[in-house]
Amino acid sequence: MLADCVAIEALQLTKTFPKSQTPSVDSLTFSIAAGETVAFLGPNGAGKSTTIKMLCGILTPSHGTARILGFKAGSQEANQRLGLVFGTRSQLYQHMTVEQCLDLSAEIYFLSGPAKLHRIREMVEAFALEPYVKRRVRSLSLGERMRCEIAAALLHKPQVLLADEPTIGLDIVAKNSLRQIIRNWQKYEKTTFMLTSHDLSDVEALCERCILIDHGTKVFDGPLTALKGPLQHLRRIRVTTNDAQKPVLTEGYRFRLTRAENPFSHIYEVLTHEQPMSESLFALSQHYGESLQDISISEVTLEEVLGARYGAS
């Protein structure tokens, strides 16, 4: 049966808000298999949040259908199987303790008795919430609160987790910690995970597949590596030299771009399938000789890829 393997399904999903000439989401069709981790990306106003809200039943589509594990989005059956995290909207009660909030979240999703207590203990352990459980939510930092939010969203063992900007406003340490926890949890529980985030390092850390939308329509659907296209072979080599007179190497090698960042730092871009890295590094070490201080190599980031795509559109 299709519903057995398809966790999220959107068929010709369309949403037109009243007083708006153009649809915010236009005939969007995609499906996400159970256990997949998918990033749902797009520039501001592309229709990401509107789609997420239609998938979880907050908004009703103007046309088309959305299904969660075969159930109509927004139905009680679908809602029971769905976990939600909105980075900009708290599900916790500021004046209550984390423990009380987790207890309430569990009850909202029909968990009770020993099963509820067991599950709360499990989540407290998995999300390292022990130091906070007795603290009031208002006394937590944003990072601590987001961990509690995600724990609350996963309490009822949802088969599908929709996360809208879960790391918004977090510092790099909190982000890394949260990503690590989500990644471990996703592997452990095999939850289908759909993420929207403007922080593409979240996407790279958590997702394998990406759906890119713009102006409400799908412009890309595939693995993250494919999103980078030919740019996945691009490497950026930064050379630091102690000789300010040393010119940039321009001839004889297939560097895609060369430029001097400053007299002591030069940048080269190379496509590794056109010119192997060993060849590039050999050429550069020959050229700079003893003036070579340092070499660093980096891949093109998802931000750059999307920036180029958005810019083009």
Binding site: K53, N79, F110
Partner: protein
């Protein structure tokens, strides 16, 4: 069985809201301690102006003010309405009804809060010399009426929460509404001691049924110029009106919610 579990959940949610309302221990204690002081001050004021010429004895005024203030202090709260409104979107994505949660939350917090105030009021009134019989009878009658009053106010709270989704500006109405109930309901002083034509007009309002008539019934064991049946019919009518308004407002709030993106 499923129904019992549902009732149990909403009961627990109501208790959760009560705990949330009183979660700031310092603030809650100061409210509970100020309450007896409020009874003393308002009773002194009323007795000063009325000079015991009204329908109530000095002791009865103490009890009346205690009851009316107790009802008013636990009346609609903007903070709760705002939270309910903020939870509306998430409520649509959860397997429990938003309307049910709003109603149960308000009901639990109101009823529980009132019970706490009753616990404060009884010793305070006994200490100022009100007779045990009057206090025990009045508060026994009050406790019997509290659930139905809680239902009525919870319906009003859900209407206001839905209204805020329909028209944001209605959040500014919460304060005027509570003030209108304060004035028309006879919270500061019993409507029976008002002059005409104000008294006859005010007696027709739901504020009178919620505050003054309740206070009067608790003191005298009967409603003012109204039989028990007539009061029950009036309350039943208000409940029906509020119930229908609730459903209509919720329906339109849900519909309108679609137009601004959730």
């Amino acid at each position: 069985m499923a129904l019992l579990r549902t009732i149990n959940f909403y009961g627990r949610y109501g208790f959760f809201q009560l705990k949330e309302r009183f979660s700031d221990v310092g603030q809650s204690l100061s409210y509970l301690l100020l309450y007896p002081l409020l009874i003393l001050v308002l009773t002194a004021m009323w007795n000063r102006f009325n000079a015991y010429q009204g329908n109530y004895t000095r002791e009865e005024i103490y009890v009346y003010i205690a009851i009316a203030e107790l009802l008013f202090l636990t009346f609609l709260r903007s903070a709760f309405l705002q939270r309910s409104q903020a939870d509306f979107s998430m409520g649509l994505a959860r397997p429990r009804s938003w309307l049910g949660l709003t109603f149960a939350g308000q009901f639990g917090a109101t009823l529980g809060g009132r019970c706490l105030y009753v616990i404060c009021a009884v010793p305070a009134l006994l200490m100022v010399g009100v007779s045990e019989t009057l206090v025990s009878l009045a508060f026994l009658r009050l406790v019997l009426l509290l659930p139905i009053l809680g239902v009525m106010e919870s319906l009003m709270a859900s209407i206001l929460a839905s209204a805020q989704l329909l028209w944001q500006e209605t959040r500014y109405l919460v304060l005027p509404i509570t003030k209108i109930f304060l004035a028309l309901g006879g919270v500061f002083c019993p409507l029976a001691d008002y002059g005409e034509p104000g008294r006859s007009i005010f007696l027709q309002s739901p504020a009178s049924d919620l505050f003054f008539q309740v206070g009067h019934y608790c003191l005298k064991g009967e409603f003012y110029q109204l039989s028990g049946t007539a009061w029950s019919i009036r309350i039943g009518l208000w409940l029906t009106i509020f119930g229908v308004t609730n459903v209509v407002f919720f329906h339109y709030a849900r519909k309108r919610h679609q137009s601004w993106g959730g």
